[in-house]
Structures are given as structure tokens and as C-alpha cells.
């Protein structure tokens, strides 16, 4: 094989993926950037051109900034809950010697078989005024009147954790499952207790999985709009809801495009910083 052919081979092999990324990601994003400089006419049609009005509005209006911060705060809280709640089952499944390990893994991915919207809506039947939880509490005399569990920020975070927990569990599981058991045996033989062995060996080696799961949970929760729509109250909108409203309700595609770019850039910046701190290369190792 000639040197030239050898050099070209990776590009040839990569060309389908590069083509897909170019046409399905780069070109649409380019269109969105162009759209963000257009204007919406009174009738709803676009006025092509180079106008900075949408960008001025996005950066000068505290409304967008506040909702963005609120979105990031909700995403952080969701990610922390996912990490706390996801680590234990992932550790259990990975360390388990049971013959039903495959079944446990199947149970982990079972929620993906049901529509995300249906899973989110199921909370209405559990937490609603006449839902299962309120009925049970009333039955046992713990409360006299139904408690308002739904349509607030807590319900939104709960719905997001429910949606994203499997992503965290699977990432942490892969990471823990890949740890060489001899390392644990070595730490124990050197006198470490079970907890010390976990703290000094298992936890540090599982951090790439935790970091990968955290990144996925954060980005997915920051970009959601279905959960606040179903489980949130009037004030519980997230940034993606503003994009949806600008594009669908207000027919203001240029403003919606500017808002989309803002969310994309903010999340991209966070991923970049995250890469500096945690190292995406390390995270990639958690996938084997």
C-alpha cells in the first residue's frame, strides 16, 4: 500500500461518520446561527438579514438569564441526586456474584422500554391529590388532607431523576465492573477494612464512570422541557421551554434560534471546563 493510500485510509473510514456529523449536526447548527440574526415580522414570517436585535434581547433581558441559571441549578441538583442514588445499585450489581446478574442488568435498562413521557406522567397517579401516596397516607391517618406533591420544582427534579438514573447507574456499573478484583484483595491483605478498601480503591477507580454519568445527567436534564411541562407549576419552566415557546407558540424562529445557541454554548462551555477538570479521556475509559 502506498504512503498516500495509507494516509487517506483513516479519512475514508471516517467519512460516513464525518458526513453524518456534518449534515446532521454542523449544517443544522449553521442554519440556526444564521436564523438567529434574522427578525420576526409582525405576521410571523421571517425578515432575512443581519440584525442583532435577538442577541441584544437575550443578553439584556434578565428573564432569560434567570431562567438559564434556574435551569443549571435544577440540572446540578438532579445530577447530585442521580449520583447519590445511582452509585449504590451500580455497586451492588457490579460486585454481586449472583447468577442473576444479567437479569439485574436487564432490570436496569427496563425503563428505557417505556416512553419517557409515559414514565413522567406515571408520577401523577402516584403523587396526585388522589394518587397512591396521598391515599396511603390518609388511610394510615398520617395526614387528613392530600399533600400537594405535584406541580412544583421538587416534582420536576423527581421526574428528572427518575428519567436519568439509569444513565448514571449504567455508567458507574461499567466503571466498577472493570476494576481488577485483585486490587481489592491486595488492599484487604494489607490490612484495609472493607470501607477503607472501598474508599481507597473502588471509589477512585469508579470516578470516571461517575464523571461520565454526571456529565450525561447534567446535559440531558439542562436540555429537557417535557418534565417541567408535565410535573411543573407555572413558574417551573426551564430554558428549553423558552425555546419551545419562542419557536412554536410565538412563531419567533429567530429568537428561538438565538436562545438555542445560548443553551448550546453554555452547555458546551461547561463540558469544556469539565473536560479540563475531569478529563473526557478518563471518562471514555469508563466505557471500556
Amino acid at each position: 500500500m502506498s504512503d498516500q493510500a495509507y494516509t487517506a485510509r483513516p479519512w475514508i473510514l471516517l467519512s460516513p461518520a464525518l458526513g453524518a456529523v456534518t449534515f446532521l449536526l454542523a449544517v443544522p447548527v449553521l442554519f440556526i446561527i444564521i436564523y438567529s440574526f434574522w427578525l420576526r415580522s409582525a405576521a410571523g414570517a421571517e425578515i432575512p438579514g443581519f440584525f442583532l436585535d435577538n442577541w441584544k434581547e437575550v443578553f439584556s433581558d434578565a428573564f432569560y438569564r434567570d431562567i438559564l441559571f434556574s435551569t443549571l441549578r435544577i440540572a446540578v441538583i438532579t445530577t447530585v441526586f442521580c449520583a447519590l442514588l445511582g452509585y449504590v445499585p451500580a455497586y451492588f450489581v457490579a460486585m454481586s456474584q449472583t447468577q442473576f446478574k444479567a437479569l439485574l442488568l436487564l432490570l436496569l435498562i427496563l425503563p428505557f422500554w417505556i416512553s419517557y413521557i409515559i414514565r413522567t406522567m406515571s408520577w401523577i397517579n402516584i403523587l396526585g391529590a388522589s394518587g397512591a401516596l396521598n391515599r396511603t397516607l390518609i388511610y394510615f391517618g398520617l395526614i387528613a388532607e392530600p399533600v400537594q406533591f405535584l406541580y412544583n420544582e421538587g416534582a420536576v427534579i423527581l421526574g428528572l431523576v427518575h428519567f436519568l438514573l439509569p444513565f448514571m447507574v449504567l455508567n458507574v456499573f461499567v466503571s466498577i465492573d472493570g476494576i481488577d478484583r485483585n486490587l481489592l484483595d491486595a488492599s484487604r491483605s494489607l490490612g484495609a477494612s472493607g470501607f477503607q478498601s472501598f474508599r481507597e480503591v473502588t471509589l477512585p477507580l469508579s470516578l470516571p464512570g461517575l464523571a461520565a454519568g454526571g456529565l450525561l445527567c447534567f446535559v440531558l436534564s439542562a436540555g429537557t422541557y417535557i418534565t417541567p411541562l408535565i410535573l411543573g407549576g407555572p413558574r417551573d419552566a426551564m430554558f428549553a421551554n423558552l425555546v419551545f415557546e419562542a419557536i412554536i407558540t410565538q412563531l419567533n424562529w429567530p429568537l428561538g434560534s438565538a436562545l438555542s445557541i445560548v443553551l448550546l454554548v453554555v452547555l458546551g462551555a461547561i463540558v469544556t471546563v469539565y473536560n479540563r477538570l475531569a478529563g473526557l479521556g478518563q471518562i471514555a475509559k469508563s466505557f471500556g
Binding site: F63, G128, P234, L251
Partner: protein, 381 residues
Amino acid sequence: MDDTNRYERLLDRYRDGSVNRRSFLSLIGASAAAYGVMGSPFTKFAQAATPDQIRFDGWGGVVSEAFRKFAFDPYAAKTGIKVVDGTFGGADEYIARIRSGQPGEFNLAHLSGVFDYSRYHELGLTSELNEANIPNLSNVIPALQDVFRKITDGKLSAVPYDYGTTSIAYNRKFITDEEVKEKGAKILLDPKYKGKIGGWSDWKTRIWYGALQTDQNPNDIKDIEAVWDAIRTNRDLVLKYWTSGAELMSLLTEDEIYVTEGWSGRIKALQDQGHDIGYFDPKGGLGWQECIFVIKGSPMEACEELVNFMLEPEVAIAVAEGQLYPPSLDPQKVKLTDKIKNLPAFDPAGTLSGLNFFNADYWNGNEADWSKTYSRVERGY
């Protein structure tokens, strides 16, 4: 030059050697990709004068089933033209789809109200119906047609199909008929029901009711700041602004909310299921109509024939009984069933003089500002 000529010219150049094989194949590939991006074969079928199929989009559920059984299947049997039916969640979502589609890709739609008709017109999406091809149009209540004709210079791009109201729905377990009659629209501002009030998330409805709550004419609001204040008061008392009829019904029947505005047909459905839900049209309550809209670029004769099928009394009555909204058929000309006569908002006179509709010019003139401001107010601003 059409595509076929372009291809033949390119082929000639390839055969005479002025274009090499690689360039020829590259240009064919590029044109195929462009065709895939810019238009689909279905677009061409839909735009043909006698298409193989036409597309209808509606709200789904029992309404689509009634259309399928009473209109689409007989139409296909008679004309050989298949009706492909899709669904949408709302007029806003649908307009976004049409704008990102190709001319002729979407043909007929079951749309809401005069406001949307006007909006579609301003976006250049209206067609011009040949009324001679729709003889059943003569059975439609003239008042419903007139509001459309005013917008499109006496012509029609849609035929009125049904109408209803958005009025006060309340759970009689917690709120009496007398209290609702006494307070009217202002019951939605009563702090006594904080956390038990609902409302439609639609900005127009919120502003309409804000106007009623501040004793203003919704079609001529003098003090919009007072309306925003009323909406803020309502927002702070509301548990949830619902986004669909299904969510409205769920919130009411699960006792999550005791009072809200509601769509007459959905409330009638709850009443028929045995739920003790009251429904009250307050003074100035909101009426609306739905239409079968023919979108610009559609094969007109085929669409007009389908519209005529849909206006057959048998079809319109079946759909009305399914969705529980009165049909647009004039009760003075068409014999309607007892079930329809008992539907909320039904007007036996056929004049609809008791209903209040959006003034399309007025609301469209304020749409950009009000919809954006409402988005802020809803979120606590």
C-alpha cells in the same frame, strides 16, 4: 428548464465527452441529494391536479375515527384518492410544521378559530375555494362563514366545521352553582381556592379572561397593565396551567383543581361519564369555531370534493356527536339530533349572536407583544 431537461442535457454532455464519468456521477448524486432535502416525491403527488393521495391533519381520537369512517373511506371509494390522516397537538405546532415543509405537502387541516385563520392568511398559507364545488356549504351557518370572508376579501380558504366555548368549569363537590354565577370569571381570582385553580396555558385565553376579570371588553382592552396584574394574581393562585384537553380532564376528575376554564366538549364528556362538573358561561365568555382549512399549494378540486364530503350532514353530525361540539350546520336548514341539541354552546337559532369571538385583526395586531409578555408573566415576572 425542468429537471428532466437538465438531466438529458447533462447526459448528452457526458456522452459527447465534455463531462467525465466522475463529474457526471457527482452531479447526479448532488442533484439527488438536493431533491431529497428540498422536496419529496409525495410533494409532487400532492400538488398534482388529480393526486393519488391527499393529506388531512386533525386532533386525532374519536374525531379522526369518525372522519375516517364517514368521509375518508367513502371519498376514497368514489374518487380513488387516498386520504392520509395525521394528527397535531395544536395550531401553533402545526403552523411550524407547514412552514418547514414543502408547498403541497400538507393539504387539509382541522384548525381552530378565526384567529388562526387570520394568522395563516398573513403568512400566505390561504388558498381560494371554489364554492361551486362545495354544495354542502349552503348548509353552514352564515355567521360562521362571514368572519372568515372578512379576512380573505369575501373568499374562503376554509369551511367552518364546529363551534364551542371556553367557559368556567367547576367541581360541584367544592363549589356551588350559585357561587360561580355570582362571581363569574372572577372566581379564578378567589384566594379561597389558592392551589385549586387551573387554567389553559394559552396566552390568548389568559388575556381574554384577564380582561373579563378587570371588567374590560376583551376585543378592545383599554388598560392592558390591569390585565397583566389580573393574570399575575391568577398565576399566584393557580396549581397548574394545563396544556391539553386530556390534562384538563385529569386535573378536574382527580380533584387536583376545583375550578378552571374548560372547553365545552371536554366538560360535556366528563359530565356524560358521571362526574359532577358544572359549566358556566360568564358574561363575555369566549366562543370559538373550528374549520377545515385548505392550505395553499394543495390540489384544490380534490380537496374541495373532500371538504364537501365532510360537510355532508351525516358526517358532520357523526363527528359532532363524537367530539361533543355542535356542528357548523344551520339548525334552520338541517335536522340535527337530540344529542347535538343538548350539547353546551349549541345555538338552536343558528345566529350565534350570544357568543363572543376573538376579533382577529385586534388580536393579531397585538400577538407579538402579548404572547411574549405572557411568557414572562407566567414565569413570575
